[in-house]
């Protein structure tokens, strides 16, 4: 006797709503959202390269805020879209295995590509959603490396899926959504809603998911974004990601013996915070835009970064390495490409929105540059070194 799982047959699914006409329409929007996520994700990885072969532009200052906000928002929009899409095609999971070696091989390959597509899509949305809320339920793998790698897998599987389904997609868009030509033979029972209303529900759900979370990065929607990871409040009116306590810098940041070290070759200049405050002060309105998708604009005051480099006669076009007081962590040391170091808007900030920089924002001094991921806007700066 063999135990068998009571799996349903494809023919047992009778709802007219589970139709390629619906799947193609939801799938098209989902495909566009995946493309947006992929492109904005690539931009984010480009922005984080220490020494990009093609320089990442410093303008517009709000560029990264928009692309990364779009990345996370579009990813959230994918959740309802993917769930409905999978619902419409779920019966295909139980499709009978075809006879004949050639058809069997083709079907197996196609179903393997679908398996990879579904698995990578769920993986990307689940890990991305968790990361945006700073939740790391996995033990060992690196979110950044893995999310980047699986993005290529997902887009590759999506291209294969489009190639396979192109005739069906064309036929679906060439006919009315209620057309039954593409339906499975058993899909004849009307659903509780029409196909149009199933599509409308999907768009409504997507819209609600976006509006409920996008206040993270669109300030005027904060009031209604009841599910956004951050309300937007924080010291100086701006949220934080890593506190001074977590970075283990409370003592060193507040110490009277704090000195900023500027290094160019064998030249070194030591500055106290008072020395920095005695230099020409500039003020720039720049956003802090985090990889997790939240962002906020602030008016930062402090010393122009280029003015500091001039103190050690650093030539224009020089790359710079910035070190933080924090004793450990992947972002203790960051590379500032020359175009950012030379940009007039790049500051070593000492104040935010008219207040002294809060310890959690990087007191005594932090980097703030235009169009740069927040994780690279180094806080508690202790050393600025020209690396040629």
């Amino acid at each position: 006797m063999t135990a068998r799982l009571p799996l349903p047959r494809e023919a047992a699914f009778t709802s007219r709503l589970r139709s390629p006409a619906v799947a193609a329409r939801v799938g098209a929007v989902l495909g566009v959202c995946f493309a947006v996520c992929f492109v904005t994700g690539i931009i984010s990885h480009w922005a984080q390269l220490p020494r990009p072969a093609v320089p990442f532009p410093t303008s517009p200052a709000w560029g990264y805020r928009v692309t990364q906000g779009l990345h996370v928002t579009t990813g959230i929009a994918c959740v309802p879209l993917l769930l409905v899409k999978l619902w419409t095609v779920y019966p295909r999971l139980f499709a009978p295995v075809p006879k004949g070696a050639r058809r069997l091989l083709l079907t197996t390959l196609e179903r393997a590509s679908i398996g990879v597509l579904v698995a990578s899509a769920i993986f990307q949305l689940a890990t991305g959603l968790a990361n945006a809320a700073r939740w790391y339920p996995w033990e060992s793998f690196s979110f950044r490396t893995t999310h980047f790698a699986i993005a290529w897998v997902a887009i590759g599987a999506l291209l294969v899926h489009i190639a396979v389904k192109l005739p069906v997609i064309r036929a679906a868009f060439g006919a009315d959504v209620d057309d039954t030509a593409l339906d499975r033979p058993s899909a004849t029972v009307p659903g509780p809603v029409s196909r149009r209303w199933l599509l409308r529900s999907t768009w409504i759900a997507t819209g609600v998911a976006v509006v409920a979370t996008v206040g993270n990065t669109v300030p005027w929607l904060r009031g209604v974004s009841v599910l956004s990871v951050r309300s937007g409040d924080g010291p100086g009116g701006i949220p934080i990601n890593t506190s001074a306590r977590r970075a283990d810098v409370v003592a060193t940041a507040m110490s009277a013996s704090y000195r900023l070290v500027l290094v160019n070759g064998d030249r070194a200049v030591y500055l106290t915070r008072e020395d920095l405050l005695a230099m020409t002060q500039r003020s720039e309105k720049l956003p802090i835009a985090c990889v997790e998708g939240w962002s906020a604009s602030g008016t930062w005051s402090g010393v122009r970064f280029r003015d500091l480099l001039d103190l050690v006669d650093a030539p224009r076009g020089a790359h710079v390495r910035i070190t933080s007081l924090q004793p450990k962590g992947a972002y203790r040391r960051t590379d500032l490409p020359s175009n950012f170091a030379d940009d007039d808007r790049t500051l070593l900030a000492l104040g935010l929105n008219g207040e002294t920089l809060a310890p959690d924002h990087g007191y005594p001094a932090r980097l703030i540059a235009p169009n740069r991921p927040g994780v690279l806007q180094t806080k508690w700066v202790s050393r600025i070194e020209v690396v040629a």
Partner: protein, 143 residues
């Protein structure tokens, strides 16, 4: 169309293999194994838990509601369930840090409840209207 499809498919395979190489090349075996586990568990959770639950809901609906109320109920359920999936990380506040008060700093359960309440109220209002219209079209309630 066939050459285009072949080209697209070949490009897809190449892009996907590049991703697989990125995954395998840049991480330790133990990390890749965990990714593989997550990969499979994600599909299993959908195919063996989420989808059957949706099937159950679809089967229960006609037993619980009159015909005229089913449409709005489905629309409401699609919106509520999918938005709730989006809300899982903030509802659980799994990433909250004691030293960071700017993170996960909203009353998420209350906000979610209000959202669900609004959607349910809208669906109920349409359902009531539909039921009334259906009964008046049928000549009103039978005496």
């Amino acid at each position: 169309m066939m050459p285009l499809r072949v080209l697209l498919g070949a490009l897809g395979v190449a892009v996907g293999l590049y991703g697989a190489w990125l995954l395998l090349d840049r991480q330790e075996t133990v990390q890749v194994v965990e990714v593989a586990v997550w990969f499979l568990v994600g599909v299993l959770v959908h195919d063996a838990v989420v989808a059957p639950l949706a099937l159950l809901a679809g089967a229960a609906l006609p037993r619980l509601l009159p015909v005229a109320a089913r449409g709005p109920a489905v629309v409401g359920l699609v919106v509520v369930t999918t938005v709730t999936v989006v809300a899982i990380p903030v509802l659980g506040r799994f990433g909250a840090l004691p030293d960071n008060l700017t993170l996960l700093d909203r009353p998420y359960v209350a906000g979610w409840a209000v959202l669900v309440g609004l959607i349910a109220a809208a669906a109920a209002a349409v359902a009531v209207r539909n039921v009334r219209q259906a009964s008046s079209a049928a000549g009103g309630p039978q005496a």
